[in-house]
């Protein structure tokens, strides 16, 4: 217990120093000195519920787009494999990286999360539960989930979302990627508990 606490304090300190030294993306962000697993959960969910994540986790068959999360223009649909209809694939327009000329975002395996992982309209508790539910999350273990959240390139895109069609930078999640990764790991290591609210 004592060791754990010291560990946490040190890690937090390191993160704090790092984020101060490298003012990445979210300068306004300030990390709490003492992040409890609950706070880590808050932080993680503030990212997952951000439009950069939610837009591709719709509960229906329509991707969302933009800062206002409007239904994707042109009636674009999920399709059977979550990568578009048979001939209108996500990759008709979205490639493996952002396109600076068109403003079309891109990342490897660009597509929708499966419908079982549709988060729209769900509370953060329900989203977290779905995240841990092998019946919904594609039979993933907690370790797999942590890996997805912290390493997947499509998830990582949220912090490098490029510009939109008019050349305006897309909004990034409210905490930095490093802080998010840290929070996810901390939450998972602490038992991946989901609070009641």
């Amino acid at each position: 217990m004592k060791i754990n606490l010291t560990h946490t304090v040190w890690l937090s300190l390191i993160v704090l120093i790092m984020s101060a030294a490298v003012p990445i993306i979210q300068p306004s962000e300030h990390l709490p000195r003492l992040a409890t697993p609950h706070q880590a959960f808050d932080k993680m969910m503030s990212v997952l519920m951000h439009k950069r994540c939610m837009n591709c986790h719709p509960s229906d068959d329509r991707p969302r787009q933009g800062e206002d999360s409007h239904v994707h223009n042109f009636g674009v649909q999920r399709g059977k494999d979550n990568h578009g209809t048979l001939s209108l694939r996500c990759q008709t327009c979205h490639q493996s990286e952002n396109n600076p000329y068109s403003g079309v975002p891109g990342a490897p395996h660009w597509g929708l999360a499966p419908k079982s992982m549709g988060w729209q309209g769900l509370s953060r508790v329900a989203i977290a539960k779905a995240l841990l539910d092998p019946a919904k999350n594609g039979d993933r273990s907690l370790k797999d989930i942590v890996k997805h959240l912290t390493e997947d390139k499509l998830v990582a895109w949220a912090w490098n979302p490029g510009v939109d069609a008019s050349g305006k930078a897309r909004e990034t999640p409210p905490v930095s990627r490093q802080a998010f990764i840290k929070a996810v790991k901390q939450w998972a290591e602490a038992g991946a508990n989901i609070p009641e609210k």
Binding site: L86, S87, L88, T92, N99, Y101, V104
Partner: protein, 153 residues
């Protein structure tokens, strides 16, 4: 950088900045003007080509991704003088008006028929989402069904 790909059956090597949209390499580099610039934002579909058989909007496709791939443009849709079933159907239904968006639609349709040989109206609505300002959609739908028939026979 140097990028090599096959276009309309011919191997090509081009020298271009790797992020140049494929559209401009096709149009200005290779002089194939059938692929159109409509919006440059992958929104209208006028620049649709096929990359390895799939419909791709070339204005939003960095040329570096074309390395080693096979590209087809409207100029390569027909076999010499013999029209592709989609072009044949387009002629028979007298689809084009101004004609500017039509190559993109025909390329998208050709890709559709490869994936769905007998598309329903819903298949057409879901997969063909290019923009036509003259309003030729009504005839295009008829032409897509006709092309499917020509292709089958």
């Amino acid at each position: 950088m140097k990028i090599s790909f096959t276009i309309n059956g011919k191997t090509q090597t081009v020298e271009a900045d790797e992020n140049t949209p494929l559209l401009w390499v096709i149009r200005d580099g290779l002089g194939l003007k059938g692929t159109k610039f409509g919006c440059g934002k992958a929104a209208c579909g006028a620049c649709t080509v096929q990359v390895d058989g799939g419909a791709v909007r070339s204005c939003s496709y960095a040329v570096k991704f074309a390395q080693g791939k096979s590209i087809t443009t409207i100029e390569g849709l027909s076999q010499g003088k013999e029209l592709h079933p989609v072009q044949q159907a387009w002629v028979e239904e007298i689809v084009p008006q101004c004609g500017y968006c039509q190559p993109g639609f025909m390329m998208a349709t050709a890709a559709l028929l490869d994936k769905i040989p007998q598309p329903s109206d819903d298949d057409i609505d879901e997969n063909i989402v290019n923009v036509c300002r003259c309003g030729t959609y009504y005839r295009m739908r008829k032409a897509i069904h006709r092309a499917a028939k020509i292709k089958q026979s």
